[in-house]
Amino acid sequence: MSPKLRIEGLQKRYGRLHVLRGVDLTVPAGAVISVIGPSGSGKSTLLRCVNRLEEADGGDILLDGQSIRELRGPALDLVRRRIGMVFQQFNLFPHRTVLDNVVLAQQVVNRTGRDEAVAAATDLLRQVGLTEKLDEYPGRLSGGQQQRVAIARALAMRPEVMLFDEVTSALDPELVTDVLDVMRELARQGMTMLVVTHEMSFARDVSDEVLFMDGGVVVERGDPATVFTAPAQERTARFLDRILNP
């Protein structure tokens, strides 16, 4: 069986800056892969290349064994529907209520009827614990609540893979737990997840595999227990030491 998502030799340059220098990555269906590493290591760029918000300069991206790197127009839109993404800055639609944030794409993209879309959205918002906020506007929510709406919004498209781009980095510390709990539950339900994170506890406890990236390459990868307790690479050890013992 081919993996859900496969990245092969991915390259990305911004002018003279070589951000991704041949990254390989396999995400089996139902697996949770966490990517850790210092800022500027290319983690977020990697994620943004997967759903083509950034165009890679080399290598390939395969979803269910099919390359998606050359897709354009409606075919690309269709693939993006299958890959959900949650952003560090939430990017909720400020002019729409919480409920409408989750309803909008269902109606616009899937042509789901309003009633059905509302039912699905209400259900998802209940799962992320926001039943009371349906008619609020995002600006009136805490960061943690906004991020949970963003997760519900992505899930409403029934994606096969979810990308999480440092989704707790913009949150006050006391709000992080609620968001991570939602992600843990999602992982438990068998969602395929690729998670860029600074939350080492999440990476250690929830992931099937952890990748440490630095300087645009994967320096080390392995099961979380090994990477966190006995890293093979000097750079990984130094990074973990700095993060875990500040």
Partner: protein, 245 residues
């Protein structure tokens, strides 16, 4: 002092000529609303072309920038004269362009509306562009990541936010447009200023123009107040989503 009041505030003159001035003001209002609506549509179209990133639209983008520069840089009066003075003689144009007499309005009315649209479209294009650029890039990215096409994302997510944020400057430009309708009198439209001027010519008294000024203020003052208030209201709300920057 008496003579001052007689010249500018003669209630008798105002009363006698009120119907004529009011009829002129009605033309002013019609012209403002029609040209205002048309220049909004035109300005938004220009802004969308100018702001697009598609490679195929590159030549159109250049033309748009040139258009905006030109029509912001030349006087409206000149545009009025150029359009009304020569369009009727350009034979290959369809008749409804050379001699438009639509909805019961004479051709000069439509030449005036066209001139205002052409000029104010350029101004409003810049207003809309500012609005579009003020919508954070993440809004488009979030929409695209949900599977929306570029045009779906623009229509449902980016444009509504852009338009909302530029309502105050749009109204400002509408006030300016309304005042500038007085320029189209040179091609024979008896709008409120022309009406007042004709009365002034007959009576050697400016009170009908004062009346015209008052009619303008009835519309422009509340609009200006509304603009001030909505700008004050918009300021603190600013970027309500997105967490710490």
């Amino acid at each position: 002092m008496d003579v001052f009041f007689r010249q500018y505030f003669d209630l008798g003159v105002m009363w006698t000529h009120f119907p004529k001035v009011l009829a002129g003001f009605w033309i002013t209002v019609e012209l403002s609303l029609i040209a205002g609506a048309l220049s909004m549509v035109w300005g938004l179209a220009l802004a969308l072309v100018r702001g697009s990133r598609a490679r195929a639209l590159a030549p159109a983008r250049v033309l748009t920038v040139a258009y905006i520069d030109v029509f912001r840089g030349i006087p409206l009066l000149l545009v009025v004269l150029v359009i009304s003075g020569s369009l009727p003689f350009i034979e290959f144009l369809p008749r409804w362009v050379r001699a438009p007499e639509l909805f019961g309005q004479p051709d000069v009315f439509w030449f005036g509306a066209a001139a205002l649209t052409v000029t104010y479209g350029a101004y409003l294009a810049e207003v809309f562009r500012a609005g579009l650029e003020a919508v954070p890039r993440g809004q488009l990215e979030a929409s695209r990541s949900l599977g929306m096409s570029h045009s779906e994302a623009m229509r449902h997510v980016v444009l509504p936010q852009a338009v909302r944020s530029v309502v105050p400057p749009l109204l400002n430009d509408f006030i300016a447009l309304m005042k500038d309708t007085s320029l189209v009198q040179v091609i024979g439209i008896v709008e409120v200023v022309r009406a007042g001027r004709e009365v002034q010519g007959e009576t050697f008294n400016s009170s009908a123009l004062t009346l015209g000024a008052l009619l303008f203020l009835v519309v422009t003052l509340p609009l200006a107040r509304f603009v001030d208030r909505s700008m004050a209201r918009n300021r603190p709300a600013g970027a309500s989503t997105g967490g710490p920057a």
